[in-house]
């Protein structure tokens, strides 16, 4: 047999053997390939593709797949990005505007330059990913009917997820229109009503019934609800202002923050004087001050701690300062000064920060003899909100999940669940949305007789140190267009105008995609052993040949590949 004929029959990965010297070719010529050498036996570290949790996803109370939706924006797939977000959050266009974005606080990119502008990207997906068509109503799979009390973000979210599971859902809202805090707590310049209406219309497409103008406990007793529904979800929010024990606090001209915002949001002409003090350091205080500014007042925010301790979203504080809202830190009101029942001013006392209190913030302590007076036309109190539970039997307290308060269990036959601010006290839109979703899941489990899910294992988070900075250059964060200060302080036009698709894609390019493969091909490109192959979006290591050098893991920019010790 000639050597040529023999070579043709050889499989490329077969060992070439000669029965005798006569079979050997007359000169050294290759008859087989190196595939006969299974160099995988050299390996003591095995590269394994193992996606890990990015810190943004982990920080999102709603559990949004942030890394995933940003990857879709990068590919220009805005509709798919919105769809992905809507798996965990019914309102990307709303949270894309008003969320306090804990994701951005954890973003690994901030250690290189600045965090990704995740909220603006979410808004881009929420706005531009909406195709103008409604949602298809899900198949009605279950006969159970669920009543939801309260149409704020928690109630709406619970309704959305229950409707998607195929339940019949009705939402009861005390005000004339649904939306709760989204409608009357957040000013138009942060969340335009048109956006809210669009998102609500999508919920109607899902077959959710809205019963507005029915206050449970007043127009309708809770006991009556259970007649028509199998389960009740209470998401009544925290709508009552926390009272300050202020002498003279009932004088005309003293307003409560939320009540003030609500009246303005409902189109009422609220007359304010020029000299307005807003008491508080949270988002309600910021909104009240900026609304007062737009109504022609010259507001001053008085807060008993310093700027560092303010619970408001930092951007909101920044915007208030830009617009000319004044701040007096380390001071608190002690008395309202009145004449004939009318507010004339207030007496304040200066504070200093003492040791940390139970919230971890330093406790403000009054400084003796430091009182001072301000002449005022209005005083707006925005020192916190609490739930109004007057429709429930005396003494009932809500916490998230199935309500097992014996008084309520005694009074009602239908099982009751609770969520949102009324149950958690969390006070942010995204946490209310998350609470609503957990409520929907708990109700579904209850109605279907399913067991509690196993607690999820703590995921492996990607620390900044695992990002390969050889692949990333500092680049500034995207700045969306926004109205300039003079253009915005005289009206309620939306300030932020969002990112263009082009800006959004440039911003999405900044994403490290921590722990998530985005098919950059580095692993396959840098493999000296040609032992990695790609099939569509999946890579595969050929362990017959991989020698375990670790270059693929080292050159992976985002820690998708782990090196695992081979078992001996």
């Amino acid at each position: 047999m000639s050597t040529k004929a023999k070579a043709k029959e050889l499989a490329p990965d077969r060992v070439v053997a000669f029965a005798s010297e006569r079979e050997m070719p007359p000169l050294a010529v290759s008859l087989g390939t190196s595939l006969a050498n299974k160099t995988g036996s050299w390996r003591y570290l095995r590269p394994v593709y193992e996606e890990k949790e990015p810190p943004c996803n982990h920080a999102c109370p709603a559990g949004n797949d942030i890394r995933g939706f940003i990857a879709l924006i990068l590919k220009g797939k805005l509709a798919e990005a919105r769809e992905l977000l809507c798996e965990t959050n019914p309102f990307p266009a709303i949270t894309g505007r008003v969320c306090h974005h804990p994701c951005e606080l954890e973003c690994n990119r901030q250690k290189l330059d600045e965090p990704l502008s995740i909220r603006a990207l979410e808004r881009l997906a929420g706005d531009e990913g909406y195709n103008g068509k409604g949602l298809r109503p899900p198949r009605r799979r279950h006969k159970e009917r669920i009543a939801i009390v309260g149409s704020g973000p928690a109630g709406l979210s619970c309704a959305y997820f229950l409707a998607r599971k195929g339940y019949q859902v009705a939402i009861f809202e005390a005000e004339r229109k649904p939306g709760g805090m989204l409608r009357w707590g957040i000013p138009e310049y942060r969340l335009p009503k048109a956006v809210l209406e669009r998102e609500l219309a999508l919920l109607r497409d899902l077959g959710i019934e809205f019963k507005a103008g029915l206050r449970v406990g007043q127009d309708l007793r809770l006991e009556e609800l259970q007649a028509g529904y199998d389960t009740i979800f209470l998401a009544v929010g925290a709508t009552a202002g926390v009272e300050l024990e202020l002498p003279g606090g009932e004088a005309a001209g003293v307003l409560h923050g939320l009540e003030f915002l609500k009246r303005v949001n409902f189109g009422e002409r609220v007359e304010l004087g020029e000299r307005v003090a807003v008491i508080g350091g949270g988002n309600t205080a910021m909104d009240a001050a900026r609304v007062a500014l737009r109504l022609g007042a010259k507001p001053v925010v008085v807060y008993r701690r310093t700027r560092a301790e303010m619970p408001a979203i930092p951007e909101e504080v920044e915007a208030a300062l830009e617009e000319g809202v004044e701040f007096t830190f380390l001071a608190a009101p002690i008395e309202v000064l009145t004449a004939n029942g009318q507010l004339k001013g207030a007496r304040f006392i200066k504070m200093e920060l003492g040791p940390p209190d139970e919230t971890g913030r330093r406790r403000p302590m009054p400084i003796k003899g430091s009182e001072f007076k301000l002449e005022l036309d209005n005083l707006i109190l925005a020192v916190g909100e609490r739930p109004d539970l007057s429709f429930l039997p005396e003494g009932v307290k809500l916490r998230e999940g199935r309500v097992n308060d014996p008084v309520l269990v005694e009074a009602l036959r239908a099982p009751i669940f609770a969520g949102g601010d009324a149950a958690t006290g969390a006070g942010t839109v995204v946490e209310a949305i998350a609470s609503g979703r957990r409520g929907a899941e708990a109700i579904d489990r209850h109605l279907r007789g399913l067991p509690e899910p196993e607690p999820e294992r703590e995921p492996v988070l990607v620390p900044f140190e695992r990002i390969n900075l050889d692949y990333f250059e500092p680049r500034p964060r995207a700045q969306g267009r926004a109205l300039a200060v003079p253009e915005r302080v005289t009206n309620f036009e939306e300030i932020e105008l969002g990112l263009s698709l082009e800006q959004g894609q440039l911003e999405a390019e900044r994403c490290f995609s921590c722990g998530g493969c985005n098919q950059c091909d580095n692993c396959i490109t840098y493999c000296p052993d040609v032992a990695i192959s790609r099939h569509d979006d999946q890579y595969e290591v050929d362990y017959d040949y991989c020698k375990g050098c670790g270059i693929c893991a080292q050159e992976c920019p985002r820690w998708v590949i782990s090196l695992v010790e081979e078992e001996k």
């Binding site: 070579a7 050294a28 050498n37 091909d521 580095n522 990695i532 017959d544 050159e555």
Partner: protein, 305 residues
């Protein structure tokens, strides 16, 4: 050629050629830079290529008789003869009317800087139509890490132990080749495969002697971790120790990648062969690198004006 399924039926990173003409199962050490650069070089040149390999690591890497890790013909030749053997093969191909086949001489730094320099100079002087690649791992690695004239100043090798590290600077091979006025000479690094492939393809399209000098990290010889080979190849460029440039006709110098100018220490500290360096020596290396870089920039500027 034995038919084998390609492992990347699409362009890597969107641009690199799909051909995989180097096979798995070769005998290079873990993390070998020389294996990686062969993979890229053959991607660039395609299957109508003949490789000529003198004594060097690749003699071993390609596999012993009767196996080969290359899907193109490979001719093993003596240490000092890579350029002359390649030139002879090319002449023979032309006689056979197969002048379109690229002949690739593929030698280490020992076979280029030291032992093969005379044959290489001869081929360059005759402007023989070959591509000569020197994959430079900066010592005689497969015989046991003996110093070569490509070994950097003060590096450890088994023949320049830390008590007597190398006292001579690395030979300026690119300047020697440019002085031959060959049509094309270029440097490349496995950390920048797109640049490497572009230069190989450019060389393929030019008639005459082409010289490509490729930095080639060697984990056992450099005493570096195997996973750091690409990072080291990148740092060599970004510290300006091994800048990426090309020279046309020995006169037109062009820098093809603007380095960040990271401190040389970033590169040195990852390698055991430099662990004994004193701060003073590191400072001197930095000064030399800066001066060499300034000279390179001046050459590139002189041509541009």
């Amino acid at each position: 050629m034995i038919e084998i399924k390609q492992s990347s039926p699409y362009p890597l990173r969107g641009v690199l050629p799909t051909d995989e003409l180097m096979l798995s199962g070769h005998l290079a050490c873990q993390g070998c830079g020389a294996a990686l650069v062969m993979r890229y070089a053959l991607k660039a040149l395609g299957e109508r290529t003949i490789a000529v390999i003198p004594a060097c690591c690749w003699t071993i890497i390609a596999g012993a008789f009767p196996y080969s890790a290359l899907r193109v013909p490979l001719f093993h030749t003596a240490f000092e003869t890579a350029a002359s053997a390649a030139a002879g093969i090319k002449a023979g191909l032309e006689v056979l009317g197969k002048g379109d086949i690229t002949v690739l001489a593929w030698a280490g730094d020992g076979g280029t800087f030291d032992i093969g320099l005379q044959a290489l100079s001869g081929a360059a002087e005759r402007n023989d139509d070959i591509i000569y690649v020197c994959y430079d791992n900066e010592a005689y690695m497969n015989t046991g890490i003996q110093r070569s004239s490509a070994t950097p100043w003060r590096a450890w090798t088994t023949t320049t132990p830390t008590r007597h590290p190398k006292d001579e600077p690395k030979k300026d091979m690119m300047a020697i080749m440019a002085a031959h006025r060959i049509p094309y000479a270029a440097t490349a690094s496995p950390a920048y495969p797109e640049d490497l492939v572009r230069k190989m393809q450019k060389a393929k399209a030019i008639r005459g002697t082409k010289f490509i000098h490729i930095i080639s990290p060697c984990p056992p010889g450099w005493k570096s971790a195997s996973e750091l080979s690409v990072k080291l190849a990148r740092l060599a460029v970004q510290t300006k120790i091994f800048p990426l440039y090309e020279v046309e006709n020995g006169l037109k110098w062009r820098i093809t990648l603007e380095p960040k100018g990271l401190p040389v220490e970033e590169y040195l500290k990852l390698q055991g062969r430099f662990r004994h360096l004193s701060p003073e020596e590191i400072r001197k290396i930095q000064e030399t690198v800066d001066a060499e870089w300034a000279r390179l920039v001046a050459k590139a500027k002189a041509e541009a004006s």
